[in-house]
């Protein structure tokens, strides 16, 4: 598959803004998505571990982690839509080919994810009193977690297959005869997959620090439980990071010859440094971990660390597709569309920023309040502004629409 062929697969419509915008949005939103996936997997692992434990702290943690997993799966799914969108914009030749060649797995992804999510909700619904009573149907939680790993593996394989255009024809037409069944997964990298999965442990470790701080803010007086969370978070952060680093090294050492130089370049080093900082940060905070908003900053640092990991993942893709195959995602034809570009950014930053800030503030403050929560005047104004912005969006939709269609 030569470079001209890859370029011929591009959509002739072009894209409505500079490709670097889609590249950056793709990396940023993938980072948020994978962070949610890590929280989902990490909380699922801890829920299973706790569900089988007789220890009070573990059982309390298991109950909290089932709730976390339940929300995380929704967040992971909804956040996953954005990187899925952006990858199709500038890497369409690679993403579409990879998908078609494993079509049944792509369809299977949907079915398996539905079954996994339902299994998680079944476990949740059956175990409202997990903290005090024996776990009912723990197999559903185990099945959910295993199936989440399967869907993760399918996504992993699709991402790897898109980096191997030289193999595509052999996969599509082995020995010159077309196999259009889409029944096979053609390529994967166990170390790369394991690296991204094991990151769930340091991430959930960091998450526990945030959870602990939240409980402190809500006036939780069970110091033993708070200490347990701190110990567990530290341990998960440290061990998870060490294992992740080992997997990163193995993955990098096994890179194909034509991008072997990537392994000793700045990106893997930046990733390793970021992971170490994320794991060490709560310890560096010392007593401040229990003070004010400092206790939440490990989550912020972990988010930044995840962005570094996401950037490294993108850098490998770039090194492969541009460095080896000559495909430059940044020279995609631009058919600039100012209205839709402007509308997105205003919606994303102004409306989305305001509304989500309002909702999250209300949810967070309500969780820290005994009895009925009544927001402050400022928060109330944020709410009114949020509602007004959403309504204005609808009004502009009809305004531009009716003017375009009928004026």
């Amino acid at each position: 598959m030569d470079t001209a062929m890859l370029y011929a697969l591009r959509d002739p419509l072009g894209i409505p803004a500079h490709p670097v915008i889609f590249l950056i949005l793709g990396v940023a939103t993938w980072a948020l998505h994978i962070a949610a996936v890590h929280v989902l997997l990490g909380s699922s692992f801890l829920a299973i571990r706790g569900a089988f434990s007789g220890n009070d702290h573990w059982r309390r943690l298991a109950a909290a982690m089932v709730n976390t997993a339940k929300v995380a799966v929704s967040v992971a799914i909804v956040l996953g839509v954005a990187p899925l969108l952006f990858v199709q914009v500038i890497y369409d030749p690679f993403w579409y080919t990879s998908n078609v060649l494993s079509a049944w797995w792509v369809i299977g992804f949907i079915v398996i994810l539905i079954v996994a999510t339902l299994a998680l909700f079944i476990f949740y619904a059956l175990n409202y009193e997990l903290r005090t009573k024996k776990a009912r149907c723990p197999g559903s939680m185990i099945a959910a977690t295993l199936l989440f790993l399967v869907v993760g593996f399918i996504m992993h394989a699709l991402s790897v297959q898109m980096l191997e255009p030289d193999q595509w024809m052999e996969w599509y037409a082995p020995n010159g005869v077309i196999d259009a069944s889409g029944r096979s997964i053609h390529s994967w990298n166990p170390w790369r997959f394991a690296f991204f999965i094991v990151l769930s442990f340091p991430v959930i470790g960091i998450w526990l620090f945030g959870y602990r701080r939240y409980l402190q803010g809500a006036g939780d007086e069970d110091q033993g439980y708070l200490d347990f969370l701190k110990r567990l978070g530290t341990r998960l952060g440290a061990i998870g990071t060490i294992v992740s680093l080992i997997l990163l090294v193995i993955w990098m050492r096994g890179l194909p010859e034509d991008i072997a130089g990537f392994a000793t370049g700045p990106w893997p080093i930046a990733t390793a440094v970021a992971l170490i900082i994320v794991a060490a940060y709560p310890m560096l905070l010392g007593r401040r971990l229990d003070q004010g908003l400092w206790g939440y900053t490990p989550i912020l640092v972990a988010t930044l660390g995840t962005i570094v990991v996401a950037a490294m993942r993108e850098a490998i893709r770039w090194a492969t597709l541009f460095g080896v195959h000559g495909y430059n995602a940044l020279d995609y034809k631009i058919a600039m569309d100012w209205y839709s570009t402007g509308l997105f950014f205003i919606t994303f930053i102004v409306m989305g920023g305001t509304v989500l800030s309002y909702l999250i503030t209300v949810a967070w403050q309500a969780g820290q309040t005994e009895g009925t929560y009544t927001p402050s005047r400022t928060v109330n104004r944020m709410g009114t502004l949020s509602l007004a912005l959403v309504v204005i969006w609808v009004v502009q939709y009809f305004g531009f629409g009716l003017w375009t269609a009928y004026a």
């Binding site: 697969l9 959509d11 909804v78 998908n99 049944w104 792509v106 369809i107 999510t117 269609a405």
Partner: protein, 470 residues
């Protein structure tokens, strides 16, 4: 190089990739429309509940919300990208056209999704925790946001049928592609059916309510909303049909089965009867009855609607410029898009297709059937099954024991010229037409392929003497 950007083809011999997409799409429509309708119902109920201080309404939202969370938000939010996935593998260039035209609209819709997910969790888990005015505000944001997701997607769905405005083809641009009469006709119909589905699905939860007086109050209102919205939705149907281009009317007249209009009326009648019965006697609504009604809407109501939308856009898959077999069939000067038909006429699929096996670029007697299969997978399989089952089996369109010569003549005369309604123009080089004819003949008569490979002189027109041809 004369290349066209065709991807590999996924061919599912059992039911056909089209059915896979259709099934996932229909399920998603059920979930998503219900989610939007229920969100608006939430908003209204939360408003009344908070305004009149009626805790039973808030309790209903909490209960219905948990059901909604699983039914619509979890399943809806998976089957939504699920449509992307299924169309990606079934029609990569079709989805690509939508993505590249409307990426920012989809990204905008995503912002609303994120707000929706946060909102639904808050409404369910903070019911009774927030003061009533805050709860009303969150409910209102959630309701408008949910409807905005439908606003964002409907123009994209409309573009699958046709660009919003004809001027899009010459001037390009998002607004002309997204907005048009068809966009608003679809929006109004979908809005109406959204309420119908909400009324039916709402019955599943309402059936489980303990407070009989409240249950009756709610079911009666759901019945009124459901019946009214069903009538309004059906009455908007002529507007939708009038917004379609001439070719769609021709296709509808010729391809839609005779039972289509009566079946739509029967579905409407059944829905009205159901809502009338629940209005008069709310007691009949049990979770099972409401569940069956939901399934009935899915199968009887949604399926024909989605089928006609899918059928009348043929032979195009998007924007009236990409054929269902993924070939770009027309210029779109406003977006700098060129038809790929001239390239195919010049070099054929065998040289223009990127994913064409090297061994098959030269067509001989001994590989003609295999090349024909490759051509059939590429140019036909998206709409025609190559086996006995699945979507519109190819073999059904040719007489049994059809001779290769006759099939080849048909392919040249009817397909290469684009003279068959409902079918894309498929230019074939002479040897390609012969190879495809050999493959098609083999579908009903495997011996025909053997005879051809053995060099049967009577198999082809070109091999016959002038006398034989006469």
């Amino acid at each position: 190089m004369d290349l066209i950007g065709l991807y590999p083809t996924w061919y599912e011999p059992g039911i056909g990739s089209g059915w896979v997409i259709g099934i996932i799409a229909t399920i998603h429509v059920l979930f998503s429309h219900t989610a939007v309708g229920a969100a608006i119902l939430f908003g209204v109920l939360a408003w009344i509940g908070a305004r009149d201080n009626r805790p039973e309404l808030i309790e209903f939202i909490r209960k219905y919300g948990l059901f909604l969370l699983v039914f619509s938000y979890i399943l809806g939010s998976i089957t939504g990208p699920g449509i992307w996935y299924s169309t990606t593998v079934g029609s990569p260039r079709g989805i690509s056209a939508l993505i590249h035209n409307f990426v920012w609209k989809w990204a905008t819709e995503w912002v609303f999704f994120v707000i929706e997910v946060v909102g639904v969790y808050m409404l369910v888990y903070l019911a009774g925790k927030l003061d009533r005015f805050t709860y009303m505000k969150v409910a209102a944001i959630f309701a408008v946001t949910s409807y905005a997701t439908m606003l964002a997607i409907v123009g994209i769905l409309s573009f699958m049928m046709m660009p919003g405005m004809e001027e899009w083809k010459t001037e390009g641009g998002y607004l002309l592609g997204f907005y048009g009469d068809n966009t608003f006709a679809q929006l109004m119909i979908r809005t109406a059916f959204m309420f119908t589905m909400t009324a039916v699905v709402g019955g599943i939860v309402a059936a489980g309510l303990k407070d009989e007086a409240f249950k009756k109050w709610l079911l009666r209102r759901l019945a009124v909303v459901g019946a009214l919205s069903a009538v309004i939705g059906i009455s908007l149907y002529p507007w939708y049909m009038n917004s379609l281009p001439e070719i769609a009317h021709l296709v509808a007249e010729n391809r839609m089965p005779d039972y289509f209009t009566p079946s739509i009326l029967i579905v409407l009648g059944a829905m009205l009867a159901y809502f009338a019965a629940t209005l008069i006697k709310p007691k009949i609504v049990t979770a099972t009855v409401a569940g069956i009604a939901t399934l009935a809407i899915l199968v009887l109501g949604l399926w024909p609607g989605e089928t006609i939308r899918e059928s009348v856009r043929k032979p195009y898959i998007a924007g009236q410029y990409i054929y269902s077999n993924q070939v770009i069939g027309h210029d779109v000067p406003g977006m700098g898009v060129k038809s790929e038909i001239p390239t195919l006429e010049k070099v054929g699929f065998k040289h223009a297709h990127i994913f064409w096996p090297e061994e098959q670029r030269e067509i001989r007697r001994d590989n003609a059937a295999e090349v024909g299969r490759t051509l059939a997978i590429t140019a036909c399989a998206n709409c025609h099954s190559l086996s006995d089952t699945g979507i519109r089996p190819l073999k059904n369109y040719f007489p049994e024991k059809a001779d290769i010569e006759g099939i080849k003549t048909y392919l040249h005369g009817a397909l290469s010229t684009g003279n068959t309604m409902y079918m894309p123009r498929i230019p074939l080089k002479d040897d390609e037409a012969e190879a495809l004819a050999v493959f098609i003949a083999g579908l009903t008569d495997p011996e025909a392929v053997k005879r051809y490979e053995a060099g049967d002189k009577t198999a082809l027109l070109e091999n016959r003497s002038d006398e034989e041809v006469k």
